[in-house]
């Protein structure tokens, strides 16, 4: 069988966590308008890290 890329599983798990955290923050911000500013701030922090794309740091 073809050899999988070594960090496939770890990257998959990391991104699942990231997506879960983003969905959580968005939901909090939408359901409670008072929490919106904090939720947007949290999303920005998470997305800034993803946009940097430092995969090595995420999987090790």
């Amino acid at each position: 069988m073809s050899e999988a890329v070594p960090e496939t599983e770890k990257l998959d798990e990391h991104l699942q966590e990231v997506v879960r955290a983003l969905y959580g923050a968005v939901k909090r911000g939408i359901t409670d308008p008072k929490a919106a500013d904090k939720a947007i701030h949290d999303c920005k922090e998470i997305l800034d890290v993803i946009m940097e794309g430092k995969v090595e740091e995420w999987v090790h």
């Binding site: 073809s2 998959d12 990231v18």
Partner: protein, 238 residues
């Protein structure tokens, strides 16, 4: 024409051309999925017109990241590492439409309306494709893309209905993105596209998919009261 259905366990037995084409199409798809957030998160997350729209920008980005994850998993399992696209500068994206930055709300709206719609077409190419692990991840991804398209359409419509200034902004954004959308389908008569079809990895020729897109999108533009841009002006791939 190749009509078998392939599982991961069968992949090693496949012709080198099949392996190469599958790896290539997964890499480009992964690049397009993450290319969206790289275009709009930086400027649109802080600058969307209100907090709800800011949160929707974040949710859209989350969905695209999740699409990237699913594609990267399918690619990684066959030994194709697509993680480099996570840090790829925008100017190096495979598809021209992703090489830049979105810094206006009208561009963000029209991007969803026109470019995410091309994304849906690209994904629909894999419906009933020969590689089953790819086919299995499609329904959820396509559903979420439909949401992005609808949101883009609604925001474009709101802009048009806001008055002459809004309509002019929407038209300018459509003029910009329309030709990029058409170019995303690639060259007519492409030999590579023919090989994708031979191996059951895609369904339509580039020119057919582009024509289907035109048949869908032009009536919507007319209904919105917008002018249909010249479909040849500024095109790189005819």
């Amino acid at each position: 024409m190749f009509t078998d259905k392939i599982e991961l366990k069968d992949f090693d037995k496949m012709d080198p051309e099949y392996k190469e084409l599958l790896g290539r199409v997964l890499t480009i798809q992964a690049d397009c999925e993450i290319g969206g957030p790289h275009l709009y998160v930086e400027k649109m997350l802080p600058a969307a017109p209100n907090k709800l729209e800011q949160l929707i920008v974040a949710r859209t980005a989350a969905e695209e990241i999740d699409h990237f994850r699913k594609i990267a998993r399918v690619a990684g399992d066959i030994g194709v590492d697509v993680s480099f696209v996570l840090s790829q500068p925008n100017e190096k994206r495979y598809v021209d439409a992703f090489r830049g930055v979105i810094d206006t709300w009208e561009d963000h709206a029209v991007f969803g309306f026109l470019i995410d719609r091309v994304g849906r077409y690209q994904l629909e190419e894999f419906y009933d494709c020969s590689y089953l692990p790819l086919q299995r991840i499609l329904p959820d991804i396509v559903n979420e893309e439909l949401g992005h398209i609808e949101h883009g359409y609604n925001k474009t419509k709101e802009l048009i209905e806001s008055g002459d200034e809004g309509k002019a902004k929407a038209q300018r954004a459509v003029d910009f993105w329309y030709v990029r959308a058409l170019d995303m389908f690639g060259r007519s008569g492409s030999k590579r596209a023919e090989r994708y079809r031979y191996w059951g990895l895609k369904r339509r020729a580039n020119e057919q998919a582009r024509q289907d897109y035109l048949n869908e999108v032009n009536p919507i533009l007319e209904e919105l009261g917008l002018k249909i841009p010249d479909p040849l002006k500024g095109r790189h791939f005819l």
